[in-house]
Amino acid sequence: MNHHDETLGRVLGPGGPELTCEQCFDELDRYVELTLAGEPADERIPGMRAHLEGCPACAEDFRSLRDLVGREGG
């Protein structure tokens, strides 16, 4: 992916249906545990992945919770 593709991705976002930031926060703990358990988290919580692609702040929250819980043995 070159610089302009990345710029386009950031500006235009993921497209398609996605959760809001509030819905994302509500579902974040369940999504993280499903992800760490190797479950199909994106099927269980539709719209989450698209939101995490579009919202850098929520994506950072996801990575932090995943890494913290994962470090403790998930």
Binding site: G9, D29, A57, R63, S64
Partner: protein, 211 residues
């Protein structure tokens, strides 16, 4: 569904213990605060590099504030805990959020937030690596539609967050808004731009970024 967790004694007992009167409740609150502080320190630690001037006790102060605020949020929202994850996972997210927002805001303290500026130029500047005529045309059209199709507020949020790299929580604080409200503005702006580009005959793929 993780329904099995709903009857796990540990998860139920956390909520019951936090609601208990007297010494039992106080002990549970202290235990929860210790967990939240651990999560807040984890977040401050991984973000330390973002805040060059966050030294010595500053980071610990931020972690303590984040843990205190998260504790209040968790106790206020205890009824919302549905048992669909472990209680600790559910509680941690409040501490991580509080810590992340505090660190981002500290990192931008005293800095001007660029709302509209030369970032425009990056959308149409010549690319030394060389890009195709089609891509150049798309970027030029995008730049035009950012000017034409968006409201001033939508343009302000889109340019700050996606082109100037301003954290949405920092922008929310400056504009007296919230992450959720600004993200909705950003989402609406993106939809308008996609529609405008489609009307002009450009094909824009969905889901282009890996996280």
């Amino acid at each position: 569904m993780a329904t099995a967790l709903m009857t796990t004694p540990t998860e139920i007992s956390w909520v019951d213990r936090l609601r208990a009167e007297g010494a039992e409740g106080q002990a549970a609150v202290a235990e929860l605060h210790a967990l939240l502080l651990k999560a807040a320190r984890f977040e401050v630690g991984r973000r330390g590099a973002e805040v060059a001037h966050l030294r010595g006790g500053d980071g610990e102060d931020l972690a303590q504030q984040a843990a205190d605020d998260a504790l209040m949020a968790v106790l206020r929202k205890l009824d919302d805990f549905r048992g669909e994850s472990r209680f600790t996972t559910w509680a941690y997210k409040f501490a991580l959020l509080e810590a992340a927002v505090k660190v981002r805001r500290r990192a931008w303290q005293g800095r001007e937030v660029p709302l509209e500026d030369e970032a425009w130029a990056t959308l149409s500047a010549p690319d030394s690596a060389g890009r195709g005529a089609e891509e150049a045309e798309l970027l030029a059209a995008l730049r035009e539609e950012i000017e034409r199709a968006l409201s001033p507020r939508q343009r302000e949020v889109l340019v700050a967050v996606t082109l100037n790299g301003v954290p949405i929580d920092v922008l929310a604080e400056r504009l007296g808004s919230t992450r959720g409200a600004l993200y909705k503005t950003l989402h609406d702006a993106r939809r308008k731009l996609r529609e405008a580009l489609a009307e002009r005959g450009f094909r824009v793929e969905e889901g282009s970024e890996d996280r």
